[in-house]
C-alpha cells in the first residue's frame, strides 16, 4: 500500500539559509499535517491543509510557511533558519479526519 512520502530524508543547512521540505500524502487522503519533533520531544503540530486550503494552525513560526498544491503534495518552507529549528519534520495525511498515517520524516540539521 502507498504510504506518505517525504523528501529529502536528511537535510543540512547553515543558519539563515532556507529549506523546503516536501510531502506526498496517501492518494485520496484529503488532509495533510505537518509536525515538528525535537530531540526527545513529542511531535508538535505546525499546520494542516484540507483540500488544498489551510485548515488549522499550530505552533508554526512566522519564518515558516506551507502550502498544498493541486496534486495534493505539500511543501513546508523554512526561512532564516536557526539552530533551534534542527528537528525531525513529519508529514501525515488522513481522510475525513481518520486513518492518520505518518511519513518517515525529514531530519533537518542547522549548523
Amino acid at each position: 500500500a502507498a504510504g506518505v512520502i517525504q523528501s529529502p530524508r536528511h537535510l543540512i543547512k547553515e543558519k539563515r539559509e532556507t529549506a523546503t521540505l516536501k510531502c506526498y500524502p496517501i492518494p485520496r487522503h484529503d488532509t495533510v499535517y505537518w509536525y515538528q519533533q525535537g530531540p526527545g520531544q513529542d511531535p508538535q503540530f505546525l499546520i494542516s491543509f484540507y483540500e488544498k486550503m489551510q485548515s488549522d494552525k499550530g505552533s508554526i513560526p512566522d519564518r515558516f510557511s506551507a502550502q498544498q498544491f493541486s496534486d495534493y503534495h505539500s511543501e513546508l518552507n523554512m526561512s532564516s533558519l536557526e539552530l533551534g529549528d534542527s528537528a525531525l519534520y513529519f508529514c501525515a495525511s488522513s481522510f475525513a479526519n481518520y486513518g492518520y498515517t505518518f511519513g518517515s520524516g525529514t531530519r533537518l540539521t542547522v549548523v
Binding site: 499535517y33 513529542d42 494542516s48 501525515a92 479526519n97 505518518f102 518517515s104
Partner: protein
C-alpha cells in the same frame, strides 16, 4: 489548554511479560485516539486506534482501553517481545471538525531478553 500526557517516561519489562502504557488527556471533546510506536529516527507507526464511542478495542497482541469518565486510555501489549522496544505515544484528535492530533509525551519501552 489542551494536553495529552503519559504517566511514566520509561517502562522496562521482561520478554514475554505484558506491558501497560498509560495516557491521560484533557480535552473531553476528543473523539478519536491513536497509539503510535516510534523507533529511533523513524516516523510514528500506527498501532491501534479507538473512537470515543468505544471503551475497548483489540488488535494483534495489543488492546486499547478508553475511560472517558477519567479521560484516560491505556495500551496493553501481550507477550512483549524485544521488537516492541520503542517509544510509544498516544495522540488525541480534537472533537468535531478539528482534525490535528495532539501528542502526549512518549513512554520508552525497553524489553529485557
Amino acid at each position: 489548554g489542551e494536553s495529552v500526557g503519559l504517566h511514566l517516561p520509561t517502562l522496562s519489562v521482561q520478554e514475554g511479560d505484558n506491558s501497560i502504557i498509560n495516557c491521560a488527556y484533557s480535552n473531553s471533546a476528543s473523539d478519536y485516539f491513536i497509539w503510535y510506536k516510534q523507533e529511533s529516527g523513524k516516523g510514528p507507526q500506527f498501532i491501534i486506534d479507538i473512537r470515543s464511542n468505544m471503551d475497548k478495542r483489540q488488535g494483534q497482541r495489543v488492546t486499547v482501553l478508553l475511560n472517558k469518565t477519567v479521560k484516560h486510555l491505556s495500551l496493553q501489549i501481550a507477550a512483549t517481545q524485544p521488537g516492541d522496544s520503542a517509544v510509544y505515544f498516544c495522540a488525541a484528535k480534537g472533537g468535531g471538525s478539528q482534525g490535528n492530533l495532539i501528542f502526549g509525551k512518549g513512554t520508552k519501552l525497553s524489553v529485557k531478553p
